[in-house]
Structures are given as C-alpha cells and as structure tokens.
C-alpha cells in the first residue's frame, strides 16, 4: 500500500466525507478507489447514533423545536454515520437551498427538510426540485403560501430559477412571473394560521405544529403560461420538467457540486471537468449520484491540483475534528455546544445569513472565526485521553526503537493527521516547538503520559496551522 494511495484516499474522504483515521484509510485503499466511490454514492445502513438513544439522554432533541438541539442532533448523525457522503450531500443541499430559522421559529420543520434532502441527496435533480417545492419550511421561508391565483408572490418562483437551478441571466422577468403562476396553490395545510404562528410566536410555549404540504386546486392559476419558450397550462411540476432540461441548469448544478467537492476556484481544467459532469447529468436523467461519480473519478479530482484547494467550512471542520478525536460517539453532556461552535465559526446550522446561503472559501475565515477554529480543534485533538487521539499515538508508537527526534515527531503527526502537506517554514516552526518541548519517547515500557501529552501538544499545534484550514 503506497503513500500515494493513502494520500489520494485521504483526499477523497476529506471531500466526500469528514476525513478518516489511518485505519479507515487503509481499509478503503484495500478496497480500491473506484469501489470506494461506489460505496460512497450508494450508501447502505448509516449505523448512526439511534434516535431512541439520543432522546433518552437529550430530552430537548426529541421535539427539536430549538435551534441548537436540532443542530446537535444532526451533528451527532454526521459524527457517527457510516455514510459520510450522504450527510455531506445533505449539508450541500442545505447550503444551496439555504432555509433559515429566522422566519420559521420551528427547527423541527427544518430538520424535516434535511431529512428530505438526505432521502433524495443523490437521486434525480428533478425529484429534488419537486420535493423542495413541496417542502413546508421552504414554502414559508420564500412566501409561497402568499402566492395566490389572482395575486402572485414571485419570491419562490424567482429564487427557484436564480438560486436553486439556473442562475441569473438565463431567463427573463416574464419567466419569473410565469413560474410563480405555475406554483400558485402550492401551500401548506392551514397556511394562514400557520403563517401567523410563525411570524408571532417563539418556540415557547406554542409552535407544536406539524406542517405539511397542501395543494389547493381552487387557488391554482391553471391558465396558459409561456415559460422559457414553452407554452401550456403548466403546473409546478411542468415548470420543473422544463428547468431540468436546460443546459444552464446542468452547468449550475455541476459547478456548485464542483466547488463544494473539488475546489473553491474553477480554473480551465476544472471547467473541462464541469463539462463532463454536465454530460453525465443529461445522460443519467439528471441523477446526482452519476454526476458525483464522474467528478470523483476524474483525473482532475485525483490530481495534486485539487488537493487542499478548499477552505474547510465550519461544520466539516468541527465534525472532522470530532470524528478523528473519537469523541461524542455516545450521548455526551454538552453536545448542544457543538452546534454553537459552528455558529461561532460563522456557520450556524439552520441559520444561513440569507437565502443565498453562506459565503464560502476564504470568506469562512475572519480573525474571530479563526480563533474559534484553532481553539476548538486544538481542544479535541490536543487531549491524549480522547480515544481517537490515543489510538493515533498508539499507532505512532508501534515498533519505535528509539526516542523520536523533533522532525520525526512532526512528520509522524502530519502524516497521521492527513497526510498533511506542510510548507517548509511551517515544518521548521513545528520542529522548533517539538525541540523546545523535549524528547518524546514512545517505546513500550518507557512511554509515559508526559510523552503522550507532548505528541498531543504537537497535534494541537498542527491543527492550528494554515494548512489544516484547508481540505
């Protein structure tokens, strides 16, 4: 098993998942890269922490009316699932179809939306858009409950085209109006009362409301519409049929997936991959699974150019650190803090800054967010009593025959944390730190808690580097 294979698998698992321990990487390398891609895009049983266990220890996560409770519930799932890509895709859709608590006062409705995203995460984009249009949280978030037969509200119709499928410049203002007309009558049960509740109540003591989709035929405008050159008595699904056939839609979806999984910036080589993804999109009948397969198996994705070409988002940073540290594998006091930490770092789950979602890439980083990132990850991986950290140090200790030099400590830690690619300046600074800190003797019999702590200190510092901020 070559180092190159491990490095490539680590790259795939950082992108299609939340990173992986060396043991997991070795198992996956043994299975073969393309087989692993198939495993990821065809998720089996997630084996995530069971709901009944979560609820037994966290009463607040039973109803999930509250933001942090719902956020922590989802993070538990991300931390414990065997299907990391499934959760990563749910996060992708949450970023793309960004729906916020601010207007709903109802985290349960948002968690239901995430369940929908997960269920259809890698299926047909057509199905996804239909389900999105029927989603109660989305209906309230973009006012489709106010979109009536004789009094259209364009909000959802516009964003469906601009932010969710095609992007600006690919349709006219008339198309927006016709699209909105087609979605009249797509509302939720008892919409008037529920909308009032959403705008007036906080989570307590009311809001125990189970929103569900309702189609009101009498409020639907079934007149003739002309949309993107097609004319007919279109309903919402007809509009989606037309949307998914557009080249602009193929480009939009492929580009967003590329930026989420491959690189923040699209260069010419990346553009060529996007073209391949678009071809797959049409050939597969708009199947996201196939589009992802094309991306992950592309030479570009596997190349050095794509490595560490993305800034880790806060949720993937937090989940990645927790998975590697082996913490929160069981119900843990203070788990709701995990959702708060992602908020401190600029990505509050269910709290996108607007319907446009989060500004990603370098914009994840500001001085306050960087302090939170460094301190959170450092705390998880700088504690040698955390099971994942202990396992990592155990692995490093296996077979050592003499105390490790400063450089050897740095290289071993960087290897097991990634492998990470360190600049020579970073490596020098880390080696100086390791030298000042003192020798780490990991030989069986002489290895002490102090040795483990020294390695953990070095792990902490490695996760504080610029390099670690990149995926």
């Amino acid at each position: 098993m070559s180092n190159a294979d491990i490095a490539l698998m680590a790259h795939l698992m950082r992108r299609a998942g939340f990173g992986a321990s060396r043991d997991e990487l070795e198992q996956r390398v043994a299975r073969g890269y393309e087989n692993v891609v198939e495993d990821l895009v065809n998720p089996g049983t997630p084996n995530a922490m069971p709901d009944d266990v979560i609820r037994r220890y966290h009463v607040d996560m039973a109803e999930m009316r509250e933001l942090n409770s719902a956020g922590a519930y989802w993070i538990y799932r991300m931390v414990t699932t065997d299907n990391p890509l499934e959760e990563k895709m749910a996060l992708f859709w949450h970023s793309l179809f960004a729906t916020g608590y601010s207007k709903l006062n109802q985290a349960r409705a948002l968690m239901n939306q995430i369940d929908t995203f997960r269920r259809h995460s890698m299926g047909s984009f057509h199905t996804m858009l239909v389900e999105l249009s029927r989603d109660p949280a989305m209906i309230i978030w973009l006012d489709n409950n106010d979109n009536h037969k004789d009094d259209i509200n364009e909000n959802y119709g516009r964003e469906l085209l601009e932010l969710f499928s095609m992007g600006i410049g690919n349709y006219t203002e008339d198309d927006v109006k016709e699209c909105a007309r087609a979605f009249t009558g797509w509302t939720l049960g008892n919409a008037e009362y529920m909308a009032t509740r959403a705008s007036r109540d906080s989570i307590w003591p009311y809001s125990r409301i189970a929103w569900h989709f309702q189609y009101r035929d009498h409020d639907h405008d079934d007149g003739e519409k002309t949309f993107l050159g097609h004319t007919g008595n279109f309903n919402g699904e007809d509009i989606i049929n037309i949307i998914v056939q557009q080249e602009a839609t193929a480009r939009f979806v492929s580009t967003r997936l590329f930026q989420f999984f491959a690189a923040d910036e699209v260069d010419a080589a990346g553009e060529a991959v996007i073209e391949q993804m678009m071809a797959t999109y049409f050939a597969s009948n708009y199947e996201i699974r196939s589009v992802l397969r094309t991306l992950f198996n592309s030479d570009y994705f596997k190349s050095e150019a794509a490595r560490f070409a993305r800034v880790k988002g806060p949720v993937e940073l937090v989940v990645g650190a927790v998975r590697l540290a082996g913490t929160y594998q069981e119900p843990t006091f203070g788990a709701d803090q995990l959702a708060r930490y992602t908020l401190y770092m600029g990505q509050g789950i269910f709290q996108p800054p607007s319907v446009e979602g989060w500004h990603e890439g370098s914009e994840w980083i500001d001085s306050g967010a960087l302090v939170e990132r460094v301190n959170f990850v450092g705390k998880e991986l700088g504690d040698p009593s955390n099971p994942g950290v202990k396992a990592l140090i155990d692995r490093m200790s296996a077979g050592v025959e003499r105390p490790l030099s400063a450089e050897e400590q740095v290289d071993a830690c960087a290897d097991l944390l990634g492998p990470m690619q360190l600049s020579s300046a970073t490596r020098t600074s880390l080696s100086e730190f390791a030298g000042e800190q003192g020798e780490a003797d990991l030989r069986a019999g002489t290895r002490t808690e102090a040795d483990d702590q020294r390695i953990a200190n070095l792990l902490r510092l490695l996760t504080a580097t610029r390099e670690y901020q990149l995926a």
């Binding site: 916020g100 608590y101 601010s102 207007k103 006062n105 959403a198 705008s199 007036r200 109540d201 906080s202 307590w204 003591p205 923040d264 800034v311 708060r340 908020l343 401190y344 600029g346 709290q351 800054p353 607007s354 319907v355 890439g361 370098s362 914009e363 980083i365 500001d366 001085s367 306050g368 967010a369 960087l370 302090v371 939170e372 460094v374 301190n375 450092g378 705390k379 700088g382 600049s423 300046a425 970073t426 600074s429 880390l430 100086e432 730190f433 000042e436 800190q437 200190n457 902490r460 510092l461 504080a464 580097t465 610029r466 901020q469 990149l470």
Partner: protein, 376 residues
C-alpha cells in the same frame, strides 16, 4: 456634521429576547395598564416614579439615579414599519438596518469601517461574548469576540504556561512570512490580526485597577471587561455585549425584574468606573431590544409584541423622554400591541452623526430624522 472625536466610544447592550417596555417604563397612573396586566402588572406602590405618568421598574433604582443626574435618554415607541414579531428576523432588521430584504452587513460593521477605513487597529470593534453579532459583521472588518478577557486568545486550554507560550510563538512564526498564494496569504494576515488583537487585549486587565466592585453576573463581567479595555486606551471605539433572555412568556415579574436588576447595577457600576478613570465623558451606552411585548398579559408573562424602548446613557447625553409613549387604549393598539412612532434608524443616525461624526445615511441605509439626545 460634527467633527470626529477620536476618543469617543459607543457601548451597545442588546437585551436579547425582547424586553417588555410596559414593565420597564411603567405607565403607573394609566388605568389601561392595570386592566391589561392583571397578573403581570407592577403595583403602583412598588414602582419608582419618574413623573406623574411614568415610573421605572422597581429594580431600576441605579438607572433612576443616573436619570436624576440627567444622563438617561429614554426613547419610547421605537420600532420600524410592519413590525415582525419573530425574534431572529426582527433582530436581523435591527442589526442590518434593512427591514425589507434579508441583508448580511451589520450597521456597526459599517461604523467600524468608517472609523478605521484602513483597518489599522484590529480591535476598533470588540464584542464581549461568543460569536460575532450580526451588527458587527461586515466583509474585511476585523472584530474581536471575547468570551472572557482573562482567558481570551489562542490556546486557552493549554494549562502549562510555558507550553502555551511556545504554542503562541510557533503560531506567530507559522502565520508570518510571505507566501505566493492568495488564500494562504489571507490566512496569514488573519492569523496575525487575531494574534495581535489577543496580545493587545491581554494587556488590558493587567493594567487595570478600580474601586468599583462589579457583581458576579454575565452583564456585569462583560461591562467590567469593556471598562478594562476602555481604560487601557487601546483605540477600541465600539463595544458590544448582550444580556438575557428577556423572552418572558412566563413568570415575567420575577424574571424580568431580576434581569433589570442586573442590567441596572452593571450600567451604574460601569459609569462609576469610567468616572473614576476620567473616561465618563467619552462613552455613551445604547441599550436596545428587538421588539416589545403584548399589552395584555397571558396569565404569567407576555407574548411577542411591537413598539419597544431604547436607552442612551452617559454624561454627554441630554436626559429625558424621546418619542411618544404609545397609547394603551384599545383603539390605538396595533393588533394588541403598542404602536411604534419612531424608527430605530433615527436613534442610530443620531449616534453615528452627532456622537461619532460619521455620515449616517450609508450606515443606516437612508435619511432619518435625528433626535437631540447628544449634548453639543
């Protein structure tokens, strides 16, 4: 416009969860108040009368003392058109000054950018709390978010002082040096800003001494930290913190009173502390909340309403009532709520223009009539 006075600072306290205006500035001689508040009213013999019509909550004696010195401006009936009664949406509107659409840039972020366009001082704005309040967020504007000044900075979990020092040294080196990569370069600058901000802020408590003893509660400790930074002359101009939760749907009289007891004591101690350090003429405090609460109580608390109360406190404030106290009469209500009669952006504009010497229009997204609660 007045000239910018570089020593002037603004301290913002957000009462999170929506403070009940009726139990803060109590219309204690208005029969409607007691009619609508059979369970959550404050009896006439307990309030602290201001004049023949209004009184402070019994827990606001320290604020009343400042009021008597003419240092407290109370803006009644403050709000914005088409009030939204969702906490988050309404807070967003106050944070971003954008009631129509969802915006992302905070008004104080714009203030900080105008005060320090080159971003020379990485701690022109400091938030005392975790996570950046949306008021202070703006692209490229550095803001420090300080949970606790004593432990603020990188690697607070490293117990051994020597190791923490080594970590900080290494961090400085690892984030230094030019790298031919835009993202790595940006990360480097941000890391150096963070380290520098923490280094500067860490000096504040060391050089601070005071006879004022703050209470042991979060708002008092936050204002103590603010006083430590202010007296250290680090160039910080905008201070932010929040306290709550004022979302008193239940057990309001006790909970709301307790919170105001803490806020009043904290603000009073803070003003005394600034006075002791010769800083009291350089700072004003703005206290705001996202909306008011229903006029009629729900049995033990109050639900979300509109029309709130804001406070501006300081030596340089013209004390008194601003804005009309909304009528409680049924015919004057807005769906059972107090009717707002002045836009919160008037208050923001007054502060941005008259106190900080900035052009208020781009900061608050428009022209708004100003108050005269700043002494000139």
């Amino acid at each position: 416009m007045t000239t910018t006075n570089n020593s002037r600072s603004l301290v913002v306290i957000q009462l999170a969860g929506a403070n009940d205006p009726l139990n803060t500035v109590v219309p204690y001689t208005d029969g409607h108040y007691y009619d609508f508040r059979p369970n959550v009213g404050i009896p006439t013999d307990q309030v602290i009368p201001i004049d023949g019509r209004f009184a402070f909550n019994p827990n606001m004696a320290p604020i009343k003392a400042l009021w008597d010195e003419g240092k407290v401006a109370v803006v009644n009936g403050i709000g914005y058109p088409n009030p939204n009664r969702s906490h988050f949406r309404s807070m967003d509107i106050w944070h971003t000054c954008e009631p129509e659409k969802v915006a992302t840039e905070g008004w104080l972020g714009r203030v900080i950018r105008d005060l320090d366009p080159q971003g020379r001082n990485v701690i022109t704005g400091v938030n005392f709390g975790r996570g950046l309040p949306r008021s202070m967020g703006a692209p490229g504007v550095p803001v420090a978010s300080v949970g606790n000044l004593e432990t603020y900075g990188l690697f607070p979990d490293v117990e051994e002082e020597r190791i923490r020092g080594l970590c900080l040294d290494a961090f400085g080196k690892m984030y230094g040096g030019a790298i031919q990569d835009a993202v790595m370069d940006y990360l480097g600058q941000t890391g150096r800003d963070a380290l520098k901000g923490a280094d500067i802020l860490r000096t504040a408590p060391e050089n601070y001494s005071s006879t004022v003893e703050y209470a042991d509660n979060p708002i008092s400790q936050a204002l103590k930290n603010a006083a430590q930074v202010m007296t250290a002359d680090l160039g910080t101009r905008i201070y932010y913190t929040q306290h709550g939760s004022f979302d008193t749907h239940g057990d309001e009289v006790k909970v709301h009173g307790g919170l105001w007891n803490q806020v009043s004591g904290a603000v009073s101690d803070f003003m005394a502390d600034l006075e002791e350090h010769g800083k009291a003429d350089d700072a004003i405090v703005l206290i705001w909340t996202e909306f008011g609460r229903r006029i009629r109580d729900n049995g033990s608390g109050t639900d979300h309403g509109s029309g709130g109360t804001a406070f501006i406190i300081g030596n340089q404030v013209n004390g008194g009532f601003y804005g009309e106290y909304p009528s409680l009469a049924e015919r004057d209500q807005l769906d059972g709520d107090l009717h707002f009669n002045n836009d919160f952006r008037s208050t923001y504009s007054t502060i941005a223009d008259q106190w900080l010497g900035l052009d208020p229009a781009p900061i608050v997204n428009g022209q708004f009539e100003q108050w005269d609660f700043i002494r000139n």
